[in-house]
């Protein structure tokens, strides 16, 4: 897995922001499960992106349920994924992350739960009757492009955090292994010499006993 090039998660092109939902990074202890809930109206489209940033093999179980308990999405040991769905039933949707398969590595998981479209910055803007002027259209285009840039930056920030986590882990492992191996080497060589000496010492004692 580590040798093969990892397929990069594509930066998502969201419809410019979100009306509800959240973008959070939380710690998931070992053998634990954490769930989040969001009440949604019917017909709303939601997207769940998640990525494991630090910990163990950088994987987590994830499942999404609708208000009736039906499983909409269920994957085990995923490093990152994206799931989109249009809410058919109004109610509370649940998504959970599980680290129950791991007994000693706690994970840091990032998720971005986006609901619907971005609301306008001023509430009056949604009551507009005339078409947008050229200037305003240009502003909207630039705003959407910048949103894509920000999304991209988030994506790279998460990848970098994950890679840095692996690099730091490697650094620590190299240190411990070096010290450990040196100690082991010394112990083994001294034991060898002691053991060898003890063979010859015993033989002399036995020989001495036999001769008398």
């Amino acid at each position: 897995m580590d040798g093969a090039p990892r397929p990069a998660a594509l930066p998502r092109r969201r419809p410019a922001g979100r009306a509800g939902g959240a973008e959070l990074t939380f710690e998931l202890p070992e053998s634990a499960r954490q769930c989040f809930h969001e009440p949604l109206q019917r017909g709303l489209k939601f997207t769940l992106d998640f990525q494991v940033i630090t910990g163990g093999h950088y994987d987590v179980d994830c499942y999404v349920e609708d208000p009736n308990g039906k499983t909409l999405y269920k994957e085990a040991k995923k490093q990152y994924d994206s799931f989109s769905h249009r809410a058919e039933v109004a109610g509370v949707y649940t998504f959970c992350f599980s680290n129950e398969f791991s007994t000693f590595s706690h994970k840091t998981v990032y998720f971005d739960f986006q609901v619907g479209d971005e609301p306008p910055i001023l509430p009056d803007m949604s009551h507009r009757v005339t078409a947008l002027t050229q200037m305003e259209s240009a502003c909207v285009t630039i705003h959407e492009a910048l949103n894509t840039v920000i999304d991209s930056q988030t994506h790279y920030r998460l990848r970098e955090a994950q890679d840095r986590s692996r690099a730091e882990e490697l650094n620590h492992h190299v240190s411990y292994w070096s010290v450990g191996e040196t100690v082991l080497l010394l112990v083994v060589s001294v034991t060898q010499v002691m053991l060898l000496k003890s063979f010859f010492t015993e033989t002399r004692a036995t020989t001495g006993a036999v001769s008398t």
């Binding site: 990074t25 710690e27 009440p39 739960f113 609301p119 920030r157 690099a167 000496k197 010859f200």
Partner: protein, 222 residues
């Protein structure tokens, strides 16, 4: 059946409508449980967090707004593990902080309940929303304060977004340098320890032979 569906729809509408926009997402928190969230942000970035709590009411078998006495303890630590915000808020609160060093900030929440019976074995439902950087701006307030027209406000939003992108890029450069330092350190360590271990191996071999030789000469076997 249709009446029940209609009632459920109405209840749901009230539920969704009553929740302030952005505070839809919630999770359950145990009485002594502490939930931490991490925000990796560049410096001079404002973070605004809003939360709302609900307590399970056994009589009504539903979650009701928590008693005013039950509050949440919010603690924010900067990347150097220094506490930059440590305050207790009510059952509904809003906390703000601005980062002064770039890196991973940790936002921890736990309830201030000391009486274990208060939760009655139930869970606390916490609605949480954290806005970072440009998303934390209240454009209605900015428009009113600086008296901006709609077009000017849009341009203002673009400026804020570009500033956030710039900050993030500077932070990215700083992170890349740290990453490079870690990799170079690993490279150095591997090289250094390989040499040292080879020397130790040779030295031990020499010591073993000399020690055994002198041992055997003493025992008059050689």
């Amino acid at each position: 059946m249709a009446a029940r569906g209609g009632l459920l729809g109405l209840v749901l509408l009230l539920l969704v409508g009553a929740v302030p926009r952005g505070l839809g997402l919630y999770f359950h928190l145990g009485e002594t449980e502490r939930r931490c969230f991490i925000e990796e942000i560049p410096d001079e970035t404002m973070v605004i967090g809003n939360y709302r709590t609900q307590l399970y009411d056994k009589q009504r078998e539903d979650y009701m707004p928590a008693t005013p006495g039950l509050g949440m303890f919010v603690e924010v630590k900067d990347p150097d593990d220094k506490v930059i915000l440590s305050r207790q808020y009510g059952s509904e609160g809003r906390f703000t902080f601005t980062s002064h060093t770039p890196g991973e900030h940790q936002i921890c929440l736990h309830s201030n309940s000391t009486k274990f019976s208060l939760f009655a074995g139930g869970m606390l439902r916490v609605h949480l929303d954290i806005q970072v950087g440009e998303h934390a701006n209240d454009y209605a307030e900015i428009a009113a304060k600086d008296k901006l027209s709609e077009l000017q406000l849009r341009v203002r939003q673009l400026i804020e977004q570009v500033e956030q992108i710039q900050k993030e890029q500077n932070y990215q450069r700083w992170r890349e340098e740290r990453f490079r330092q870690t990799s170079e350190s690993t490279n150095q360590r591997v090289l250094w320890w390989s040499i040292v271990q080879t020397l130790i191996l040779v030295a031990i071999g020499v010591w073993q032979m000399r020690h055994l030789k002198s041992f055997f000469e003493a025992k008059k076997l050689v």
